[in-house]
């Protein structure tokens, strides 16, 4: 039951990033970069050589870490792992799709909007009556 789930409060939770080089560098300048003792970072820089599997692994890792509260993911990267992003339904970490330099934000692909659309879709409504 969703009502009984407690949110682990955290006074120094991290912001993770899965995005292109310039976006990651920009947010690292803003101080969000973290490297732990095992040299694990809270970001993945996506370029032409990054595979879909690497993106999937990073997404799964960041969404299961307890020290991460928000995951920023460029929308064009999220589209590569759309099935993973849309099937994610936990409140924390929050997944935010952000625009990138060459790919403006498209609300039609937003995972939240997809979920809302499904709620009001004709099939969904018909199944309840």
């Amino acid at each position: 039951m969703a009502g009984r789930v407690q949110i682990p409060t955290n006074n120094s939770a991290l912001i993770a990033m899965i995005a292109d080089e310039d976006t990651v560098v920009g947010f690292l300048l803003a101080g969000v970069g973290n490297v732990d003792l095992r040299r694990k970072t809270n970001y993945l820089i996506v370029d032409s050589k990054t595979t879909v599997k690497q993106i999937e692994e990073a997404f799964k890792e960041f969404t299961t870490r307890t020290d991460i509260a928000v995951v920023l993911i460029s929308q064009y990267v999220a589209n590569m792992v759309r099935f993973l992003v849309d099937s994610y339904n936990k409140p924390i970490p929050a997944i935010l799709e952000i625009p990138s330099k060459n790919h403006p934000y498209d609300p039609a692909h937003d995972s939240i909007l997809s979920r809302v659309k499904h709620l009001f879709s004709t099939e969904s409504v018909a199944s309840r009556h």
Binding site: S12, T23, A30, V32, G33, R39, A94, Y105, D110
Partner: protein, 213 residues
């Protein structure tokens, strides 16, 4: 029988009103979310584009080898900008997290300095017996001192972050840093709006699911 007949419609009307209230709350929060998303996306893109352009300009003036991910610090270090995650106190049975951005440790510093100030007030109660003007002057100067300490902390954090790209950096790189900081603030607002909407959505979805059963 007449009493029972009156009670049954009242109970159904109460449940219906309750469900309608949840649906209305969801529709309101969805409307607020998408309105905010639209304006914040424009703002975010504005600051991101500004940040990207400034980064490109810094790369042009400093050289591509100096503004490069190869230079990123891969030794163990903690993030200077983090999030404070709390649960909305008004909703005990909810899963609605609230996010507060702590830039360069500033929110935690403000809290620490506030606690330090209140503990100093407790140690020196004789201050309360002084004239009100003198007391307010002392309070203002201590607040200014606290504010200066926070500013120093922030500036040190910013300088440390920039130092990854060398001692002398382009002013454009500093501007890019500020643009992305502002973009972060926008993103945290979006995260809170999203969280609020998802909370309302889950309530409606659950009610509809119960209705189906």
């Amino acid at each position: 029988m007449e009493v029972a007949d009156h009670k049954a419609p009242t109970l159904e009307n109460g449940q219906l009103a309750d469900e309608n209230a949840d649906v209305l709350q969801f529709m309101d929060s969805m409307d607020a979310y998408f309105t905010l998303l639209h304006s914040l996306s424009s703002t975010l893109r504005q600051y991101q584009i500004q940040g990207w352009l400034e980064l490109a300009s810094a790369r042009h003036s400093m050289g591509a080898y100096r503004v490069n991910t190869v230079l990123l610090d891969h030794t163990s270090h903690s993030a200077a900008t983090t999030l404070l995650v709390t649960q909305d106190e008004g909703k005990v049975d909810s899963v609605e997290p609230r996010f507060t951005l702590c830039k360069w440790g500033s929110s935690s510093n403000e809290k620490f300095l506030g606690e330090k100030q209140s503990s100093q007030d407790q140690l020196h109660p004789q201050l309360r017996h002084r004239g009100s003007t003198q007391l307010s002057e002392e309070k203002t100067s201590s607040e200014n001192k606290a504010s200066c300490e926070i500013d120093d902390q922030v500036q040190k954090g910013r300088s440390k972050s920039l130092s990854v790209f060398g001692t002398l950096v382009s002013p454009k790189l500093r501007s890019a840093q500020l643009s992305f900081e502002t973009a972060l603030e926008t993103l945290v607002e979006m995260a809170n709006a999203r969280s609020e909407m998802l909370y309302a959505f889950d309530k409606v979805d659950k009610k509809l699911g119960d209705g189906k059963e």
